[in-house]
């Protein structure tokens, strides 16, 4: 028996063990490299891609204009959707049954109806009323009740002036987004433990302030990642507003494709456009997530700076060892 309690020179030295081999990783990597090479080969050699046609047409004036519309629609519908979603989430968590019930019905309706259907519906809202007026509700009914002919309308516009294709597209996207955002925000608020609310209340904070200063900033950590998802989905869903009809990126690319009988290259161009927009967004999301992760990790500032770098160099450190 050797005496395990007395360290010898060899036990005191650093551990230099032979690492576990991973032959499976080498086989799998070879497979991935092979498939990638084949894919790139196809991109370069297959004439159907018509790269020069893509280059010449993917940045033409109508396409740039469509891309601008896509971005404006995405940003506005997300801003409106998030704002309305927060209101709905707070309503949903309210002790008032009318408010929480109303929010529930809203979410129930707008999550049930597909976005395409909603957009076509909003595109045809002119059918309901030819004019939209602002005034006293039920003014005619009240006037009829007393046998009078009064009008309680202060201001009105014809449906064609306000329900433009842009407004219809924006409303369709934003209202449906609000339903999803309401659920995301609600989950975020519910994830904050009650002790936080109690501590803020014990300090004499009002409900509104403790929501703004204590609960929502913490809930953001739970809210931001799915909201990033929603925004990426929104960029892509703007392609549905062609049904309104409103002219955005995909509509314009497809138009060029059908006009020139070069549909496939234009579809490839659409993929590249959406890929580029989404990539920019992912970088933005990374910074937002970092901002709201403050105080949640023990890591120091320097370690956080390093983690920023990881998004580009996400390779396992013991790769293939």
């Amino acid at each position: 028996m050797t005496d395990t309690t007395t360290p010898t020179a060899s036990t005191r030295a650093d551990v230099k063990a032979i690492p576990v081999r991973h032959p499976g990783r080498w086989v799998a990597s070879a497979g991935v490299v092979l498939v990638s090479a084949m894919f790139v080969h196809m991109l370069v050699t297959n004439p159907a891609f018509q790269w020069s046609f893509i280059r010449d047409n993917a940045f033409s004036a109508p396409v740039i204009n469509g891309a601008k519309n896509t971005l404006v629609l995405t940003v506005l519908s997300m801003v409106l959707g998030v704002a309305l979603g927060i209101v709905l989430a707070v309503m949903r968590l309210s002790p008032n049954p009318v408010l929480s019930g109303g929010a529930w019905v809203y979410v129930w309706f707008f999550r049930a109806v597909p976005r395409v259907v909603l957009l076509i519906l909003f595109g045809n809202l002119g059918v309901l009323y030819s004019r939209y007026d602002i005034g006293i509700p039920f003014d005619r009914q009240i006037a009829n009740l007393f046998g009078l002919s009064l009008s309680g309308r202060f201001f009105g516009v014809s449906a064609n002036t306000i329900l433009t294709a842009f407004v219809a597209a924006l409303l369709g996207l934003a209202l449906s987004e609000a339903a999803y955002m309401a659920e995301i925000v609600r989950a975020g608020i519910s994830s904050i433990e009650e002790g936080q609310t109690e501590a803020a209340q014990a300090l004499g904070m009002s409900r509104g302030k403790l929501m703004r200063r204590i609960v929502l900033p913490q809930a953001m950590r739970v809210i931001v990642p799915p909201t990033g998802n929603e925004t990426i989905a929104m960029i892509k869903d703007t392609s549905l507003v062609a049904f309104v009809p409103y002219y955005e990126l995909f509509f314009q690319l497809q138009a060029i494709g059908s006009r020139t009988f070069q549909l496939f290259p234009m579809l490839v161009a659409a993929c590249l456009w959406y890929l580029a927009m989404t990539s920019v967004l992912m970088v933005g999301q990374h910074f937002l997530e970092k901002r709201y992760a403050r105080g949640t990790r023990r890591s120091t500032d320097r370690a956080e700076k390093k983690s920023l770098f990881k998004i580009w160099t996400r390779l396992p450190s013991n790769w293939g060892a």
Binding site: Q196, A202, K209, R294
Partner: protein, 265 residues
């Protein structure tokens, strides 16, 4: 002759906290079954008792985190949560309740620091947001308070970077930043590793010596004996025994108190 000045003083000074037949139930579960207590200004009252005896609930009633179902509760002469006009009671508005809470500091078992703010940020938050103190002034005062609890060097750290004892000391500083006239401690050392309990109790001892009125729900019998002016033993929603801590601990009158003390001492 000599008793007279004492009597005068007793009528002049009103209790900081006065509870009369306070009852509280959650659904059908009766948690408080009529609590009568008085805490004089500058006094330290320790409340002990088995878990589920209602001591934390009573503490939370004092700053209206829980609404009482019966009896009356006053803090510094003002009714908690209600306004009385004649025979009728009116519920206070949220704003008025918040106004009352400003004067009552509370320290929780689980610290409940705001994790997205630094230690100094936690201490500055309520003065700036609730009282409207300028940021500069709040920072000065916050640094003083952190110094007082021995954490001035950690003012830029987030709660997750602090030990439990340090977090609880920040929580005490945060409550003190509102200049409360009463401090409530809800088992402030129960979530701490044993070696960290001392540092928090030291801060609390300092507060008591400085004349803060304190109600402390605790399991630390040593602290209750040394710092407390009065010890209250609660069980099953009632005050079983109350009195001078040394007397209660060394010579408990009630059977239930004896049984409890034999377990914790």
């Amino acid at each position: 002759m000599s008793a007279e000045p004492v009597a005068v003083q007793q009528t002049a000074v009103q209790p900081m906290v006065k509870a009369e037949a306070v009852r509280k139930h959650f659904g059908r579960l009766e948690v408080l079954k009529g609590i009568d207590l008085e805490v004089m200004p500058r006094a330290v009252m320790c409340i002990v008792g088995p878990s589920g005896s209602g001591k934390s609930t009573f503490l939370r009633c004092i700053n209206h985190l829980e609404q009482i179902n019966g009896g009356r509760l006053w803090v510094d002469g003002e009714l908690v949560g209600y306004r009385q006009r004649g025979e009728k009671l009116y519920e206070l508005k949220e704003k008025e309740v918040a106004q009352h809470r400003r004067d009552i500091g509370m320290v929780f078992q689980r610290f409940n620091l705001f994790p997205h703010m630094t230690a100094l940020g936690n201490v500055m938050e309520a003065p700036v947001q609730v009282k409207g103190t300028s940021r500069n002034e709040a920072r000065q005062r916050g640094l003083e308070l952190l110094e007082r609890v021995g954490l001035s060097e950690r003012c830029d750290m987030y709660p997750s970077q602090l030990s439990g004892g340090q977090q609880q000391r920040v929580a005490i500083a945060r409550a003190l930043a509102m200049d409360p006239k009463l401090m409530l401690f809800d088992e402030p050392t129960s979530a701490l590793d044993p070696e960290l309990v001392g540092e928090v109790l030291d801060v609390m001892r300092g507060l008591a010596e400085a004349g803060m009125t304190m109600i402390v729900v605790t399991h630390e019998m040593g602290f209750a004996r040394e710092v407390g002016d009065e010890l209250v033993f609660m069980d099953d929603g009632v005050v079983v025994e109350a009195g001078n801590p040394r007397d209660v601990i060394t010579n408990p009158q009630h059977e239930r108190t004896q049984a409890f003390l034999s377990k914790v001492l």
